[in-house]
Symmetry: C2
Subunit: 140 residues, 2 copies
């Protein structure tokens, strides 16, 4: 079993200091549409980034087990939140992942590696809404 501990301290308005022992604080605020400070990470951003970054860590882990050398990895993610009868709810997250390999012959294996990671990623498997991953491989 693994524990992950975080802290939060309200500073002013809807802004606070999100902490994690031994790690730099992240200033968080509500989205500007909900009265928050612009230019700050929101809880919704953190959730989308948690999914996106967990997919990367899991992909790197699967690639290492498969002895697949990746030359690069980058992604973009978009989370969608909607108004429902129960309040605001996430309806889905899309993640576009581009992995780079040195040889065109490895492109298919690289895409499959991301697909395997999707099945194991603890964060994307921890959410109720669909996480849709589109993986592409480029040679470089």
């Amino acid at each position: 079993m693994w524990n992950f501990e975080t802290t939060l301290r309200w500073t002013s308005g809807t802004t606070g200091a999100a902490g994690c022992p031994g790690k730099p604080d992240v200033t968080v605020s509500a989205p500007p549409e909900f009265g928050g400070e612009a230019g700050r990470w929101t809880p919704e951003d953190l959730l989308v980034s948690a999914i996106e970054s967990c997919l990367m860590m899991t992909t790197l882990n699967v690639a290492q087990r498969q002895k697949l050398e990746l030359k690069g990895y980058a992604s973009k993610a978009t989370g969608r939140m909607e108004k429902t009868a129960e309040g605001l709810r996430f309806s889905g997250v899309e993640v576009a992942i581009e992995v780079t390999v040195s040889d065109p012959a490895l492109a298919d294996k690289a895409v499959k590696t991301v697909q395997i990671a999707e099945k194991y990623c603890p964060v994307s498997n921890g959410v109720k809404f669909p996480v849709h991953v589109v993986a592409t491989a480029k040679v470089g």
Copy 2:
């Protein structure tokens, strides 16, 4: 509908730069137990902090609607991840919230405000595992 966009770029090892347009990057890494760099936010930390900070934003919003003036808000959260037959999975997050009010007569209302926020918080309602909130009010 609201969209939340994030980006991620692998830098080295299991470390990457998590981005959000117009906001400072956050360096993310795998947990040290999984080969990551110590002192970095992990995807698991981001998930726990997303839940924790969304509960704060929602509480502040409910308090405002109820014309309850809060003097302070701080919390600690712990996420638990376990090995299962399907891979690593979150089994729960505990959030201990302490709100500060100026008058002892407002303590119960403050605790109820957090309980209402729990029902509306989009992030904690977006996860499959239980989020257990314990709210206390202090006077100060």
